[in-house]
């Protein structure tokens, strides 16, 4: 096993994850290189790195998905390794291959392993061969065959993009009438999002939980698991709350899942950090997919195991052997704060952060790239930050999360913090009555009427309108002009607002 020395790390990502990776790399004494698109020139990750390179236009296809541009930036800056983060190119085997061919270290699994696991159909075959249970389904579904399968297994069925991940390119089909149209739409979405229109279908479990196992593999063939994460609380198949350990999971089931993940990783010849996702129905579990990268929700594992998964990744990439993890402790919860309007069907939101209050205190961690003046653009995924709390038990972690969400305020970008606060504070969450249907069952109507809160908002709005409360326009304008360029400053046309006076 060749030990390699790593000195300069390029982070091929943006947002909170780029910042988080740069922090660890710096703490390890590495020199760091950020890459950025034209829309991200003033982003936190650019300022945090020792060096930064513009890699293209605002659309991801021109920048964060532009392999040639990223490799060129690595060569120019003398980087010897590339960390892909999550999303973007992190699970593209052609990227891992291009990095290797450029003589650089890719911080992740080998390209061939990623290709095998990234394709849901071959991943499923591998799972079956490794003795890991899978959900009944049909590969490469043509409309006719899919409808036949659905008639046999019963609706609803789930249509998934073969190259998809993170819930994208997935649809539930409820009835035979919409089956063909849904397959077409899923295929179209898959083609545009992943460049691969193949879809496959599965029996849809009514109230499953989503539980995943974190594992690490090194070049010597060692595989270790680091507990599980329950990611059942989702909206449109996107995780929004994660916790570890999974509540109400029997030790037998937990051990069986950890063993299954180990078998799978070993069968794949996996190196670096990965996650095996399972759907869980009672104590029965079915393999869903492997995420061959660092997960968004990795901090809850870090907190319970007292480790830094990015550091582990970098050590493995240098050829080091994994040390056995320490025993996990307590409970950790993560909430993903997204730029969405939860009161309007989770419509994506954009804007400039005019003011920001960040929670703190014992057992509270907030991973974000936001600062006052940050701009949230429509070009990328709307994750604003991840709020993570730790407690000696679930009750304490939950209470800390509610308090921390109450403290959090992001003015200027509509976000899901208040929605998540109500989710975490709910009785159903307290009882850990978890399933992937949780949000639609418990929170399909939000917010409930709160007269005092609305009145407080109106008083604040009235005071703000008259200039008696809030950021003084001059002060804010100076900050925003510096941060965002005068053209985009919302204060430029200030004065357009008038009081509506009673005649």
């Amino acid at each position: 096993m060749a030990r390699r020395k790593l000195k300069v790390l390029l982070v091929a990502n943006r947002g909170e994850i780029a910042l988080r990776i740069i922090r660890t790399a710096r703490a390890m004494g590495l020199r760091t290189v950020a890459v950025f698109s034209e829309a991200d020139a003033h982003s936190a990750h650019v300022a945090a790195a020792d060096d930064a390179r513009l890699i293209g236009g605002a659309p991801a296809a021109e920048s964060y998905l532009n392999i040639d541009s990223i490799i060129a930036a690595a060569r120019e800056t003398g980087a010897d390794a590339i960390h892909p983060g999550y999303g973007f190119l992190s699970e593209r085997p052609e990227f891992a291959r291009a990095v290797e061919q450029a003589g650089l270290i890719f911080v992740g699994p080998r390209a061939d392993v990623m290709a095998q696991l990234g394709d849901k159909i071959s991943a499923r075959k591998l799972a079956i061969a490794a003795g890991v249970p899978v959900v009944p389904g049909l590969e490469a579904a043509a409309p006719d065959a899919a409808c036949e399968f659905a008639a046999r297994e019963g609706f609803p069925i789930l249509v998934k993009a073969a190259a998809g991940g993170g819930g994208r390119g997935m649809r539930v089909v409820e009835s035979a009438e919409v089956c063909v149209a849904a397959l077409e739409a899923a295929s179209r979405e898959a083609l545009s999002a992943f460049g691969d229109g193949r879809v496959f279908i599965e029996k849809y479990l009514a109230r499953p939980r989503h539980i995943e196992v974190q594992f690490l593999g090194d070049e010597k063939g060692n595989i270790v698991t680091m507990g599980e994460r329950d990611c059942s609380i989702q909206r449109r198949h996107q995780k929004i709350v994660e916790e570890s350990p999974a509540p109400h999971l029997s030790n037998t089931a937990r051990d069986a899942m950890l063993a299954a993940a180990t078998r799978l990783a070993r069968a794949a010849g996996y190196t670096n950090a990965g996650t095996a996702e399972f759907l869980v129905d009672g104590d029965r579990f079915y393999f869903l997919e492997v995420n061959a990268r660092l997960q968004v929700e990795h901090p809850i594992t870090e907190i319970r195991f007292g480790c830094d998964l990015v550091e582990e990744q970098l050590k493995i990439a240098c050829g080091e052997e994994i040390a056995p993890p320490s025993a996990p402790r307590g409970c950790a919860i993560e909430c993903r704060i997204n730029a969405e309007d939860a009161s309007a069907g989770f419509r994506p939101a954009i804007g400039i952060v005019l003011d920001l209050r960040v929670p703190a205190g014992p057992g509270v961690r907030f991973d974000t790239h936001l600062a006052r003046g940050s701009e949230v653009t429509p070009f990328y995924d709307g994750l604003l930050g991840k709020l993570i709390t730790y407690g000696s038990d679930r009750k304490q972690a939950r209470a800390r999360m509610v308090a921390a969400l109450d403290e959090l305020a992001i003015l200027g970008v509509t976000n899901t913090a208040a929605f998540l606060r109500d989710v975490i504070a709910s009785e159903a969450f307290g009882a850990a009555d978890l399933s992937t249907r949780f949000i639609e069952e418990q929170f399909s109507h939000w917010p409930s009427e709160d007269q005092a809160l609305t009145e407080a908002a109106l008083i604040a709005a009235s005071l703000t309108a008259s200039g008696a409360l809030g950021i003084r326009p001059t002060e804010a304008a100076a900050q925003l002009t510096a941060a965002d360029g005068a053209d985009r400053s919302p204060w430029k046309a200030l004065g357009g607002f008038e009081l509506w006076k009673r005649q």
Binding site: R168, A185, R188, E189, S192, A193, A344, P348, I350, L354, D355, R357, P378, D381, G382, D406, E407, L408, A409, I410, L411, G412, V413, T414, A417, A418, R421, P447, Q451, A452, L453, E455, A456, A457, L458, I459, A460, A461, S462, L463, T464, A465, S466, G467, A468, L469, G470, I471, R472, P473, P490, A493, L494, G496, F497, E498, L499, W500, K501, R502
Partner: protein, 187 residues
């Protein structure tokens, strides 16, 4: 004095809307920490403590809220704890409401690509009917009619790249009333 100036400014009632709801709010009195307001005819009293970071602690109805605010071109943004509100001054939307339309246009909520246009000019559409499918932020979004209407003009075709706020479809009211015929704008 600055404080006096503020008080005078606050005397004017402000009409605001959030989503489809209209409110009328008037600050009646403010001295020291005390504040009194009238909201839609209902009076309430509380305390307001301004903090150094441009936020304030507002206590009303026995509850304590941390509030922040900022003015934008066409709206006022407010945060109450983790909740955010976007208030707009009440404006010409009233005329559209009279004409029986929730919205006179179908507008792109985000920059994106038009995938499908499901209606033609002259079509009568019902509330909730799907009109345009766009792809934005890597997801397909279906834009639907908010109220019954007639498609006046289709301004987008599949494959178009549209900017945030682009008008995709113009609508006219579904039922032509006599009141409407006298409205010179409705032809």
């Amino acid at each position: 004095m600055e404080g006096v100036g503020r008080l005078r400014a606050l005397e004017a009632p402000v009409k605001l809307k959030s989503g489809s709801r209209d409110f009328e709010i008037e600050i009646l009195f403010r001295e020291g920490f005390e504040i009194r307001a009238r909201i839609d005819g209902r009076e309430l009293a509380g305390t307001l403590r301004e903090l150094g970071d441009a936020s304030a602690i507002l206590e009303i109805e026995g509850r304590r809220f941390r509030v922040m605010g900022a003015r934008r071109k066409q709206s006022i943004l407010v945060a109450v704890g983790p909740r955010t509100f976007d208030f707009a001054p009440v404006d010409g939307g009233a005329r559209r409401a009279r004409r029986g339309l929730a919205a006179a246009e179908i507008i792109a909520p985000m920059p994106g690509k038009v995938l499908k246009v499901l209606v033609n000019e002259g079509d009568v559409v019902s509330a909730g009917q799907a009109m345009v499918i766009i792809e934005a932020m890597k997801m397909e979004t279906t834009l639907s009619a908010e109220s019954p209407a007639v498609v006046k003009r289709v301004c987008a075709k599949p494959g178009d790249t549209v900017d945030h706020g682009a008008v995709l479809i113009e609508l006219s009211p579904a039922v032509v009333s006599s009141a409407l015929q006298s409205d010179p704008e409705a032809r």
